[in-house]
Subunit: 434 residues, 2 copies
Amino acid sequence: MESVKDKAILAKSGFIILSNAKTRDKNETLESMAKSLDKNRKKILEANKLDILGAKKLLQRGELTDALVKRLEVTDSKIDEMILGIKDVIKLEDPVGKTISAIELDSGLELYQIAVPIGVIGMVFESRPDVIPQIMSLALKSGNGILLKGGKESLNTNKAIFEVLRDSIKKKSIPKEAFQLLERREDVTGMLKLDKYIDLIIPRGSNEFVRFVQSNTKIPVLGHSDGICHAYVDKSYDEKKALDVCFDAKVQYPAVCNAIETLLVHEKSAKKFLPKIGKMYKEAKVEMRCCPVSYEILKDLKVRKAKEKDWSTEYNDLIISIKVVRSIEEALDHINKYGSHHTDAIITSDKKAGEYFLNFVDSSSVMLNASTRFADGFRYGKGAEIGISTGKIHARGPTGMEGMLIYKYKLIGNGHKVSDYVGTNAKPYTHKKL
Amino acid sequence: MESVKDKAILAKSGFIILSNAKTRDKNETLESMAKSLDKNRKKILEANKLDILGAKKLLQRGELTDALVKRLEVTDSKIDEMILGIKDVIKLEDPVGKTISAIELDSGLELYQIAVPIGVIGMVFESRPDVIPQIMSLALKSGNGILLKGGKESLNTNKAIFEVLRDSIKKKSIPKEAFQLLERREDVTGMLKLDKYIDLIIPRGSNEFVRFVQSNTKIPVLGHSDGICHAYVDKSYDEKKALDVCFDAKVQYPAVCNAIETLLVHEKSAKKFLPKIGKMYKEAKVEMRCCPVSYEILKDLKVRKAKEKDWSTEYNDLIISIKVVRSIEEALDHINKYGSHHTDAIITSDKKAGEYFLNFVDSSSVMLNASTRFADGFRYGKGAEIGISTGKIHARGPTGMEGMLIYKYKLIGNGHKVSDYVGTNAKPYTHKKL
């Protein structure tokens, strides 16, 4: 079997050809991929049966959870969704080759800034095999080579889907080598060392895993470890909106990064609002961990007292910490100090307070009277999401295909030399927009 | 004295206020800075005298070079240039707060992608004190906090310039704390650990120093270590253009990253072109290190034989390696293999070959019939340059103020909750461009 380094070199050499492929060739290849998934359902479902059998054994031994086994399973309707996902990518505009800026430096000397793919992207994901068609189609459309590494529990399924997709590539301008599947666990650490061939790592998985990747590679990492999100209810607010947003942001799907972990409430609103949202949380079995002031208000609901550590904890569960603040400034300070700059919301009927919050909270998504749960690539209209970035370099927040692109400068001259533009008789630059 | 961590925390707290400052306040502050430099010439020149005295002692002991002492020196005309530099930044458009995209997710639920500053930038530079007004004005205009660390030889000058600039800040919306000067050598390594407070490091200095920074921090780094650039003379070419470009790219200023280190020549052009450029190089005292074929052609000029190592060496000096290739494909392979993806040029009169080269060379700047020496922020019309990036994430090539920006998403709702948009009776998203 080829080593991870061999595969990375192959992907890099494929990338430079793929980066120049025509939109039509890319879309036609995506069409064949979608058809091929449809034709090879049996192969994929059978491979998946093997993985499910293996997973059930691990489940009996307590090494896997029910939820994980469920996520592993591929059904006919899941294959339908994969096919639809590829068709969505066909509809996305081809971002490669666009002119971002154009400027004349001097007569006959023209500079073009052109969008190009980044190169080779290393993607590490957990047991959901539907990531493969999604990421492979985005990489193909954006002209990037890709190394895919999924969870070992889904290896048979991943291989089957990957082979079906890769074998459907028939065009010379789309080199198969640009797409590589990694199969061994040690390939992940191997990949992290290949900064010469891999341009970006996108890890999807537990916070611990993402942090491990960030600390063990020189390659840039796009992703997020923590998602400590907040909702703040201001002194003037619409009660129905506040209850809707604060309940949705915590309860609708608590296991994900854009669910809130802390509720902040202005002291003027606390006595009226907290008992109502507290009752709703209680009925939904949300455990509440309260600051001294909110504890006094909610103690009949058998809430707990919050510890300092609670303000910086991502529960990913039906638990929420609650704090009463004296002002919007205190809320901002709390969020900028304890939060993870992911997604934070204000509920207010005061337009100025809303603007102030959106401007002064340093997070990738800031919401006014809307649930933090909307922070998601699909909901933001990006078609598909390659990840959510809490970094502030390159891409921030929910990131679609635009996160797989960079640019190059093309300078077109006519024998121009710099020595004419320096010294005593230096020619001036025109710097005229084209 | 405050620790580097204290200073980073101050810069971060200043940044969030500065990030919301009005364009007029920023430009008026830049005006006062320019005036203040003019009024305080004596203070700056006297501080500089101290540094020059110290540097001359080091020169006598052989610990500094003449060139470095020269770069340290501040004169009245250098202060004039600093003032002009600040005025140029005043003229640059304010990039903060621009709407990058706007989309309706559903009726009353609107998503805005807004340009915002990155946060706190750590800038490490060598002994040129004129970096301080340049970078400080760019940071101020783009709303970023900044930690500045210059060479120890220019500490007195750096402090004087920094104080003059910072003391001229009088507006509440421009917090002085956003700007910090680091004075101790150990502050550099201290800074590399502060990934909680510093969002981007820009190192300017020797290749070794940049590589040291890249290997010793989790903070993203914008910069370049190597500059291994090429010029390729194709089989059909205009002789005057080829001689002009190949001479300029090597000789005009060989110590910089965008000068070429290797000349590639098509075998059909070698016998005619090499003797002519060889003679020009010889007269300019350029040492030539040749492949076997070019050696045969140029041996009368007392050239040397190239070793394998030469193809991946950045000389930064009057030395060039020369190779004859059989095809444009061989030239591309050589450049993508040995180059540093910085800047590469083709000289050709064949339009198709030119396009092919610009598309298939994976470098941040690619030139057609123009010298590689043009790859520079000022020449590219960016006003000022924060660095040249050989990275492919965030910013690539010569980078101006745009490299100090990212965006945030603002979602404006009306009590919208995600639970309405999932499940059996899910509302659809409209995803309409605004």
